[in-house]
Symmetry: C2
Subunit: 107 residues, 2 copies
């Protein structure tokens, strides 16, 4: 039914899945990679760089912001989107914990 039954899972499982999900789109991967290669990020650059419409990019940026991965600062009439390094590191740790604690052999 296209609806995820989140109430069946632990908060940890839902959180983890949400991080994965937000990262699970190539445009969002590309946006993060591009931002990390710049000193500052201006959204319009992204439109040229990624090749999706401005509205679409804006939407993807919003999703990345929603899990705290990006900070957006207003700079006059431009926006400066930056990776939230602190948050980034926390999420990386959580994902690694998941990978390290879920690796066991069975057969």
């Amino acid at each position: 039914m296209g609806i995820t039954k989140t109430q069946m899972f632990t908060e940890q499982q839902n959180d983890l899945a949400l991080f994965f999900k937000v990262l699970g789109h190539p445009a969002r991967v590309a946006i993060l990679q591009y931002i990390s290669n710049q000193n500052a990020c201006i959204c319009n650059d992204l439109v040229d760089e990624i090749g999706l419409a401005q509205a679409t990019i804006s939407q993807h940026l919003k999703e990345l912001k929603s899990i705290g991965l990006l900070n957006g600062e207003v700079e006059g009439k431009k926006m400066c989107y930056c990776i939230n390094v602190e948050r980034w590191t926390v999420i990386q740790k959580q994902l690694n914990t998941f990978f390290n604690t879920t690796k066991s052999n069975c057969c």
Copy 2:
């Protein structure tokens, strides 16, 4: 339009996003965690454990298999699903490389 324009992105970006996407559902996180806590895995156990219908679990298992994260072996009339540790480790490394190379400060 609900369709991801994969042709706009690099293969690496698409691959990475695909891993994230497959892991981006709490049922699939829960399945992996449950399997790793067992010695062997039988799908019917999962139906009881996770609380989704048998058909749904089967579908999720298929997606995890599709990126090589799970191996499925037939054992008589049962299935033994196991984490593919080699693949698991490769994917973990790729995700970590992404995280480590995409962390730079801008503002």
